[in-house]
């Protein structure tokens, strides 16, 4: 094979044919395009006209070039071009392929696997045995050499781990190797102390070749909190050149969906291996962050899990009284503020305001009685921590004396006690060391802490288990009670230095930390975690994915504080009693450096270059060029016009493109335009039914939603009167006819122009579109469901009006014994109906369009009931109307069968007779007017009860 750069030729002699090109150029150049013969009567007019330019009758150079290129492409194609021709690697004997298998490998793991695969391919072609091993997952002893091909199938099972190889284990393993073998070492590119020894050990057995990605490895250190902003820092293994990276803060949004909460870009300066960026986020957002990631890098090192170190707890401070001016140090909350300020966000205010902010902790400093005790208790039960401090007020109060107050952990004895004062015997008491089961276990009690006074707990059976700290004499100092998800903690001393020196000591701060009132400043030390046990909650995989840990043994706190990520302590989030600690791959002190290899070692990249025969591509290119040549020749000779042009273009382009695609797929051999077209056609044929099926599915799914939308649009584009479907076909029909009649009347007499009425199904339809519902009540009407009642109540609350019609002329009086009346009572019971009264003579319904005093329907019934006037509405002297309700009455109840009086048939005539003779027609007219007034009232509200219209109305009324 003969190679030029990355190109090799299988039959390079054919390239000699290129010599023919210049000759071809000369020949082709001399042959102009053939003329077209045209019959044209206008030729008589052309006689004597000569061509302007004495243009050469030779082929234009660019067309020649096109043809030359096509011929050249054909020649090259048949010379068998191959991209990246591969040379075989030399060597024999067993082959050890060693992977570091760390988190730094994870970012380009697929490439490593490809490389290993290529190496194994080679080895299997050379008949070598091979072993593939990962340093983080070493076998007990030696290297299991097998046929190289058999490793190919096992390769997928080799996974990187999220930690570095253990130097001791590697050294032990290296000692156990024997025999001669060559080693291919896939390095992750990071310098490690153990590397040199291992290299020496491997070189003792044979040749070592290192494969390494020269790109620097990036790592993200845990975020820390500094001056109110989050500081995210990243490290890299090579301090060369400037480099930008993007840090993404992940977390759960309020709906619990994982999201990118923030993005910030990070810049490594030239020559710097560390970069920092400050991120200022609102507390609410900050507390939601679960991890930081370097965008686009799949590696555990690019992920920094956040723990409580970033969470700034919100602590509400509530003191008994307003601060006394000038007595800062006596303020009940001064020391607590000082202790919490660096690590928590403090909220002050009234208790019910504070609870709205949903703090993590509420501190009550010497508060005996809480105003919103119910709300506070609810909050505690949902996981809040209520921290109370005693004081003179609590001691003096009667709270939790006889019965235990739910917001206090114990019952208290009256008065408290004072020790070591001027009026008492004994010394001020020191603290007893904390018990094993106390959350404070492991904290060192300073000698100087003394307690002078305290409130005393009543000795109850449950007292012992609630004590978490006590004085030297055994009296409880701190008690705790769990309430629901949360807890109530009482310090039996004051939060200031009045009763004890505890708030002055460092122990106070540590106790607050242990109670998770405040948060620890940064990585906890082993001393701080002594005596605690932590279980891993979420683990980080080498690829930087966070997974649930499942069950794993607990880790002692002191171990965790010192731990490096490893098989025993995988990187992840460890949960303690109330806190969480993140163990990250990169910690604050981690420095990354490029692995340095001795000169004698060959270091290769990871790129796998595959042979790629280009014959097909060149042939396709030649074909495309020839197609272009056809077009160009046609155009040049003036034969390319109109439809011929498009057809020719389509013919030329389609097979050209498709041919190229086909060549790319096959990568071999020439492509025929017909076969390519066939391919295209078959592709189309396959696609068409799929599309049709998809369309059919969409069409099948679409109608319900569309129908609902159509209904909504129909109901809202015009004013529409609606009636409730009762289930009685006749009643529904009459109701619809009645509303149609009323709509016609409104249309002809007023500016209200309703569309056709709509029947409403209370269960399924949306009611909000209709200004008024007509609800004829039948004796055997089914009761709507609860959801329907919810809808109805919402409808009534938001200004809808329901006209209930018992249609029985109310013969028994409202609410009396008629079956429809009883049914109405049952139906209306779950509705939010305000107090009612018979329609007063000054109700706005009597004058919203027509002046009316009677409201007959088909029957001249008795009273019509509407929302009662407010009790303070009084008739002012000289005014005909009281100033009544300021809104639309939500219901109008009567039994006059209005729909029957309004009802018209298809021809527009009245459907039912009303009364007798002229008086009857008059009654129908009044019924119609009532309907008009009702709709006007619904649509205009209290407009007509405005006093503005009084003069005009008075004039009309003849007063």
């Amino acid at each position: 094979m003969w190679t030029v750069g990355p190109l090799g030729f299988t039959a390079p002699l054919l390239l000699v044919a290129m010599v023919a090109l210049p000759i071809l150029w000369l020949i082709l150049r001399a042959v102009p395009p053939a003329p077209v013969r045209r019959r044209f009567p206008g030729v008589a007019l052309l006689l004597g006209l000569s061509d302007d330019e004495t243009q050469t009758d030779r082929t234009p150079w660019w067309l020649l070039l096109l043809r030359m290129l096509a011929v050249a492409a054909v020649i090259i194609a048949f010379a068998g071009p191959v991209l990246n021709p591969q040379d075989e690697r030399q060597g024999a004997g067993p082959l050890l392929i060693l992977l570091d298998g760390t988190w730094a490998d994870a970012r380009d793991w697929p490439r490593r696997q490809d490389r290993v695969e290529a190496l194994l391919d080679e080895a299997s072609r050379a008949g070598r045995t091979a072993a593939v091993l990962s340093l983080t997952d070493l076998p007990a002893e030696g290297a299991p050499f097998q046929a190289a091909a058999s490793w190919l199938s096992q390769l997928a099972g080799v996974r990187p781990q999220a930690w570095a190889p253990d130097a001791e284990a590697v050294a032990d393993w290296a000692e156990g190797l024997d025999g001669d073998f060559d080693t291919f070492w896939m390095s992750d590119g990071l310098a490690r102390p153990s590397r040199a020894d291992l290299l020496a050990a491997l070189e003792a057995h044979g040749e070592v070749v290192v494969f390494e990605d020269p790109r620097p490895v990036l790592g993200l250190a845990p975020a820390r909190f500094d001056d109110g902003a989050i500081v995210v820092s990243a490290v890299r293994s090579a301090a060369e050149g400037s480099q930008a990276a993007e840090v993404v803060a992940h977390g759960l949004d309020p709906q619990g969906t994982p999201r990118d909460l923030s993005r910030v870009s990070l810049e490594f300066a030239e020559g710097e291996s560390e970069a920092e960026v400050r991120l200022s986020l609102p507390a609410e957002l900050r507390n939601r962050i679960t991890r930081f990631e370097l965008a686009g890098i799949r590696s555990a090192g690019a992920v920094a899990l956040t723990d409580d170190a970033l969470r700034r707890r919100e602590v509400a401070l509530i003191a008994a009284t307003a601060d006394r001016e000038g007595l800062e140090l006596l303020s009940p909350t001064h020391y607590i503020e000082q202790a919490l300020e660096p690590t928590a966000d403090l909220i002050t205010g009234a208790i019910d305001d504070v609870l709205l902010a949903n703090p993590d902790v509420v501190v009550l400093a010497d508060v005996a009685r809480v105003d919103a005790s119910g709300a506070l208790l609810d909050w505690v039960e949902e996981g809040g921590l209520l921290l109370r401090f005693a004081g003179p007020r609590l001691a003096a109060s009667e709270v939790s004396r006889a019965d235990e107050d739910p917001l206090l952990p114990v019952r208290l004895r009256a008065g408290g006690r004072s020790v070591g004062g001027a009026m008492s015997w004994g010394e001020p008491k020191a603290l007893r060391p904390f018990d094993e089961d106390s959350p404070f276990h492991g904290l060192v009690v300073p000698e100087e802490v003394r307690v002078n006074a305290q409130v005393m707990a009543q000795p109850d059976p449950s007292l012992a288990e609630r004590v978490i700290a006590s004085l030297a004499d055994g009296t409880p100092l701190v008690t705790r009670k769990r309430v629901g998800e949360g807890q109530v903690v009482l310090f039996h001393v004051t939060a200031n230095a009045e009763w004890s020196t505890l708030p002055l000591s460092g122990l106070f701060v540590e106790m607050l930390e242990r109670l998770a009132v405040s948060t620890r400043p940064s990585q906890p030390s082993a001393d701080e975690l002594v005596g605690t046990t932590w279980t891993v909650d979420q683990v980080l995989t080498a690829f930087g994915e966070v997974e649930e840990a499942g069950t794993r043994p607990g880790v002692p706190g002191e171990t965790l504080a010192e731990a490096e990520p490893g098989p025993e302590t995988p990187p992840g989030l460890y949960a303690g009693e109330d806190r969480r600690i993140a163990l990250n791959v990169i910690h604050d002190e981690t420095e990354l450096a490029q692995a340095a290899w001795p000169e004698r070692i060959t270091v290769e990249g990871l790129e796998v270059l595959r042979e790629r025969p280009l014959k097909g591509w060149f042939l396709a290119a030649a074909l495309a060029l020839l197609m272009l040549d056809i077009l160009a020749s046609l155009w040049l000779s003036g034969r390319l016009r109109g439809s011929t042009a498009t057809a020719a273009l389509a013919l030329a382009i389609v097979p050209g493109l498709d041919g190229a695609a086909h060549a790319a797929v096959a990568g071999q051999a020439a492509v025929w335009a017909p076969s390519a077209s066939l391919l295209l056609v078959s592709a189309l044929l396959i696609r068409v039914p799929v599309m049709a099926a998809a369309l059919a599915i969409v069409a099948a799914l679409a109608p319900p939603a569309a129908a609902q939308d159509d209904e909504a649009i129909e109901a809202t584009s015009e004013v529409v009167l609606a009636h409730v479907i009762t289930g009685d076909a006749h009643v529904d029909q009459v109701a619809e006819a009645g509303l149609r009649g009323l709509s016609r009347t409104l249309f002809s007499r007023t500016s209200v122009e309703p569309a056709e009425p709509i029947a409403v199904d209370l269960e399924n339809d949306e009611l909000a579109f209709y200004p008024m519902l007509y609800w004829p009540v039948t004796a055997d009407q089914p009761k709507p469901s609860d959801e329907a009642y919810d809808k109805l109540n919402r409808y009534l609350r938001t200004g809808g009006l329901i006209l209930f019609d018992t249609r029985d002329a109310d013969v028994a009086g409202f609410g009396g014994a008629t079956p429809a009346g009883r049914r109405l009572q049952a139906l209306a019971a779950p509705l939010d109906i305000p107090p009612l009264e018979p329609l007063p003579s000054d109700h706005v319904l009597t004058r919203s369009f027509y002046l009316l005093q009677a409201f007959p329907g088909r029957h001249v019934g008795r009273d019509v009931w509407v929302e009662a006037a407010p009790p303070d509405a009084e008739l002012v002297d000289g005014m005909p109307f009281r100033n009544l309700n300021d809104n639309v009455t939500p219901v109008v109840i009567g039994g006059n069968d209005w729909a029957a009086a309004w009802a018209i048939d298809e021809r527009g005539g009245p459907m039912f007779p009303v009364g007798r003779g002229y008086a009857g027609e008059r009654q129908r007219e009044i019924a119609m007017r009532f309907g008009v007034n009702l709709i006007m009232h619904v649509l205009t509200g209290n407009y007509k009860s405005d006093q503005v219209h009084v003069p005009a109305l008075l004039d009309r009324l003849g007063q």
Binding site: P33, P35, R38, F40, P41, A44, L45, L46, G638
Partner: protein
Amino acid sequence: MSEAAQLRGRAEALAAPLPPLLAAAEHLAATVLLGSHGRRRAGVGDEFWQYRPAHGGDEARFIDWRRSGRSDAHYVREREWQAAQSIVIWVDRSQSMRFASTGRLPAKADRAAMLAMALSVLLIRGGERVGLSGTGLPPRSGEVQLMRLAATLSEAGEGDDYGAPEVRGMLPQSRALYVSDFLGDPAPVEAALTRAADRGVKGALLQVLDPQEEAFPFDGRTIFESIGGTIRHETLKAGDLRNRYIERLKERKARLSMLARTTGWQFHTHHTDDAPSSALLWLYGAMERVH
């Protein structure tokens, strides 16, 4: 043989004398609604034209007593002038007229024959005498003449590349219509026209052109040949000739138009992709306007 087949056979025999050209022409002529065809001037005829007051020189027998009895003056009843005119039509039937640029358009000769025939239908229906120049078909009136005209116009054309009108058989003071593409040598046309004008013949020139002859949409190396193949012209870049060709065509039209104006004729250009009825209307109007 069935009844229907016999009927068909008879019907075909009956229809055979009517040439397709005549049918097309009749169809086209129907688009020009005639009403009563008259000369719209007083003259010899049967139809009433107008009453006019009698003056000296009018014979007593001309006086319309019925009309005069209704007033004090005497009135003469005039009749419409209905003397038939002779119209001689020359349709160019040379080879160049057989050109049609696309299959969808008719050949110029076909369009010319159809227009001539349709005009003949109109004129003969109007009582005029129509004949063809130079072919021994003198102007005659009547439906039979239509058949003769159609038969002659349907005959195969001449062998020349470009035709020239003939003046033979043209009656003095008659009217004439020349239909051609006038793309050939204009001299014979001019000669014929001036000779016709000398005899007091007035008429119209209708130039029938194919749209391609108007637009010259050619490009590239081309050899143009006349239809008969006697004239040829080769060019390397046909596109460059376009403007000059169009210029020459314009000149030719202007020359014809000028010639028509000086001799009192009328000139019009018709394209085969235009509706024939508009050309027919113009022709009809031109024949009317001769006076």
